[in-house]
């Protein structure tokens, strides 16, 4: 009875019926196990990229070269960007929690194509290995920045092709994940659960899946064209043959701008789960949150040009792109007000996931609003490619997506492992992270405003103070990260055992017969005739008998 998906033999495999635990993990098609494996790999890469970033911070501690030359620095920020973007944050929330939690939330036994899911995971691993292989082969890792702008990427001797191939493979994996989730959400919702009864995390995953599916092919073919350009000289992006490098930038950002919404939307979904659970209150404006996810995904397609204000584009186009970019702030603002209103008169419980969510409200608001400032053409001409933009991006991505990923990690930890971490220690780690994060990135707004350009390994002496404050922040932040992961990893083995619904939450992933969940999830598929976040006097309204999955309230 108490067998969980983590136990031996508790999995279906893509090929055959292996006997050993190792092969059962390698060949597993179970969405929960695949999600866990993604988490293990993704966070490993996260730390590699954090280490690279820290090396850059060390180098920037004082003006002039400390221990890295300029070329190495270029490779370092490229490595940092490529890992963080393609290996960590793009797969991030969907690959981990989309896999582990989304099917549970809609009452499904697995995703629509479990074997494709397994294949996708290994495609991702292949892409990751190809990317890393270029570290030790040829002329070393690419030094182009993660954006691979032509024409420099076409002429540099470093291993750009390998990195492009890797990004292409990872893009395929992303497409297939999105495809799988779209079909799953359309087909496998429990009877009675219409779209407006889905938990909001599922809405986030749904909007993201469309972006994964409809934007990624554009970068895929752009990378293929760049590869062909480098190998065969087809001329498309090469000005010496009449090609247009700005075209590369357009094609690149047609994907890569929607990609930031692809990162943030499922993260917002996590926020929409945590806030009602720990406010013990029905979410405010359910439909507006759901539809704002969809509209962010839609508007997100039409704003890529704001990356090209200084690249050579018609003034009319700049004004239109600037105007459209402001529109993204509207659905985002709606979400934030909805979350704040959900907490209003709620019974707020300051657990670790709730702390992360609240912290994100602060950091992402800073990240989002500074984004509106650089959406303005005039302001952006001044701030483009400065530390201001770097700080904006990290406040939005790290202070938004990654903070919420951590929030989700703390929120669903008892679900994934059936054990609980030490809340006191985890909260301490949060405060370290939150303080370190702000000390690390806030000075960059000021440095950038005064003209500190990004991607430089040297700088004028007047910027030294900002870099040194940032360095102190980086030390605190990394200490926080290590503490956080130490607390969590320790709890996997030694944490206190907890039941299936540790947080008293309402959505279906908390109504499982065992903790951690069994192989095929719910004992029976429930009939869903309730909204996802129904609380009455601080208690969940809907109660199930976990054996029959019939309502007993």
């Amino acid at each position: 009875m108490s067998k969980s998906y983590l136990d031996l033999d508790q999995t279906h495999c893509a090929i055959g019926h292996p006997k050993t635990a190792f092969w059962q993990w390698m060949l597993t098609v179970d969405h929960k196990r695949i999600g866990l494996m993604y988490a293990a790999v993704i966070f490993t890469f996260f730390f590699v990229a954090v280490a690279t970033a820290f090396a850059m911070r060390l180098e920037l501690f004082a003006p002039g070269a400390q221990f890295m030359d300029g070329d190495t620095f270029n490779q370092a920020f490229t490595l940092h960007g490529v890992i963080m973007i393609f290996l960590f944050i793009i797969p991030g929330v969907p690959a981990v929690f989309g896999n582990i939690v989304m099917p549970l939330m809609i009452g499904a036994k697995d995703v629509s194509f479990p074997r494709l899911n397994w294949f996708t995971f290994w495609l991702y691993i292949t892409g990751a290995l190809v990317a890393l292989s270029s570290l030790w082969s040829g002329e070393g890792f690419a030094d182009t920045g993660w954006t691979f702008y032509a024409p420099y990427s076409l002429t540099t001797n470093t291993n750009v092709i390998t990195t492009l191939v890797a990004a292409f493979i990872l893009g395929m994996a992303s497409i297939l994940t999105g495809l799988n989730f779209l079909v799953t959400i359309h087909r496998l919702r429990a009877p009675g659960m219409d779209f407006f009864k889905m938990p909001l995390f599922v809405w986030g995953i749904y909007a993201t899946a469309w972006i994964q599916l409809l934007a990624t092919p554009v970068i895929g073919i752009t990378l293929v064209l760049a590869i062909l350009e480098k190998y065969f000289g087809i001329g498309i992006f090469d000005p010496s043959k009449g090609g247009d490098p700005v075209l590369f930038e357009h094609l690149f950002w047609i994907y890569s701008h929607p990609a930031v919404y692809l990162m943030i939307l499922p993260a917002f979904g996590i926020m929409s789960e945590i806030i009602p659970t720990f406010s013990r209150r029905e979410v405010f404006g359910y439909r507006t949150i759901a539809l704002s996810s969809a509209s962010i995904a839609g508007i997100g397609y039409l704003v890529w040009g704001h990356h090209l204000y200084t690249s050579g584009m018609a003034d009319t186009a700049k004004v239109i792109f600037s105007f459209l970019t402001f529109f993204v702030a509207i659905p985002t603002g709606i979400k934030f007000y909805d979350w704040v209103f959900t907490m209003y008169k709620g019974k707020i419980i300051l657990t670790t996931p709730m702390l992360w969510a609240l912290g994100t409200i602060i950091t992402f608001t800073i990240g989002g609003l500074t984004g509106v400032t650089i959406a303005m053409v005039g302001v952006d001409i001044h701030l483009q490619d400065t530390y201001y933009t770097v700080a904006h991006f990290h406040y939005a991505m790290l202070g938004g997506v990654v903070f919420l990923l951590f929030a989700g990690l703390h929120y669903w930890f008892p679900l994934m492992f059936g054990r609980m971490y030490n809340e006191g220690h985890a909260k301490f780690a949060f405060y370290l992270n939150f303080i370190g994060f702000n000390v690390l990135w806030f000075p960059m707004f000021i440095a950038g405003y005064y003209g500190m350009p990004r991607r430089y390994f040297d700088y004028l002496p007047e910027f030294e103070i900002y870099h040194q404050i940032s360095f102190v922040g980086a030390v605190i932040f990394i200490t926080g990260l290590i503490t956080m992961f130490y607390v969590l990893i320790r709890a996997i083995k030694n944490g206190e055992k907890v039941g299936p619904n540790h947080w008293n939450a309402t959505t279906l992933e908390w109504h499982l017969p065992t903790s951690p969940p069994p192989l095929e999830n719910h004992t029976k598929v429930p009939y869903v005739d309730f909204m996802p976040y129904e609380y009455h006097h601080g208690q969940p309204v809907v109660k199930f008998d976990y054996e029959t999955m019939k309502r007993i309230d």
């Binding site: 499904a108 036994k109 697995d110 995703v111 629509s112 194509f113 479990p114 497409i175 495809l179 799988n180 779209l182 079909v183 799953t184 359309h186 087909r187 496998l188 429990a190 009877p191 009675g192 599916l213 409809l214 990624t216 092919p217 554009v218 895929g220 073919i221 752009t222 293929v224 064209l225 062909l228 065969f232 000289g233 087809i234 001329g235 498309i236 010496s240 043959k241 009449g242 090609g243 247009d244 075209l247 094609l251 047609i254 029976k524 598929v525 429930p526 009939y527 005739d529 999955m549 019939k550 309502r551």
Partner: protein, 251 residues
């Protein structure tokens, strides 16, 4: 079928009404939906290339017409017909499968495979002809700054031509691969008239591949047709091919 012993679960609501649960197993509609979504991605990939092509055509219209005129419309047109017929055989095969005629379905799939190979063969002849005229990726004519260099517009035209017909050719090759796999699945009884979703999706794929060619053909081949640069005639085509065969014998 023994491998399809899946029985759908039933969920009961509070009024005692029963609702069939859709599982991931046996979900023909889901498999169809998934494949349509995959086809979106293909359309977007080729769409981005067509967009690039259109952009450069607007910059270099005369060069594009000139370069297009030098392509061989007889071979390209022949290939278009071949692909259209192959789409027909593919569709007929699916109809036969639906009506339970497995043998007929297999014949039609084989016919499609043969036509696909024919297409690739003709494509190969075309590329060889172009190569023998000095027009190919990496040759001087498509590099800047030498005596054989073509103008920018033509370099871009041929760059995109080889890229797109090449990527299309890879899709044809992939199609042949999955058709052979389909035949294997039919032979082992995994694809049957009751469970022919694989056949259905492969037919969809093949439709897309031939549809893309239907756009590639006019865009590349027909743009220069009927202009004074247009030198392609049936007799010169035959002569060029026989010359190609002759030059191969010399080696």
């Amino acid at each position: 079928m023994s491998s399809h012993a899946y029985v759908a679960e039933i969920a009961t609501d509070r009024d005692g009404n029963e609702h069939v649960v859709q599982g991931w197993q046996d979900d023909m509609y889901g498999a169809k939906l998934g494949f349509w979504l995959f086809m979106f991605t293909e359309v977007l990939m080729f769409g981005a290339m067509f967009m690039t092509l259109t952009y450069y055509m607007m910059l270099h219209e005369a060069d594009f017409v000139h370069a297009s005129a030098s392509l061989n419309r007889y071979l390209g047109g022949f290939n278009t017909v071949v692909l259209l017929i192959s789409a027909l055989t593919m569709g007929l095969g699916l109809l036969k499968m639906r009506h339970g005629d497995i043998k007929g379905a297999k014949t039609m799939i084989w016919a499609t495979i043969v036509l696909a190979f024919l297409f690739l063969g003709v494509k190969g002849v075309e590329w060889s002809l172009e190569y023998s005229h000095g027009v190919f990726l990496g040759l001087d004519a498509l590099q800047p700054g030498n005596e054989h260099s073509k103008p920018f517009g033509q370099i871009l035209f041929f760059g995109m031509y080889f890229t797109m017909t090449g990527i299309h050719g890879v899709h044809i090759l992939g199609g042949i691969g999955i058709m052979l796999w389909l035949l294997k699945r039919i032979n082992s009884g995994k694809v049957t008239p009751e469970h022919h979703i694989l056949h259905f999706n492969i037919a969809l794929y093949w439709d897309l591949v031939h549809l893309i060619w239907v756009f590639v053909f006019p865009f590349y081949y027909m743009m220069g047709a009927g202009t004074e640069m247009d030198t392609a005639t049936l007799s010169s085509t035959i002569e060029a091919i026989s010359h190609l065969g002759g030059s191969n014998e010399h080696h």
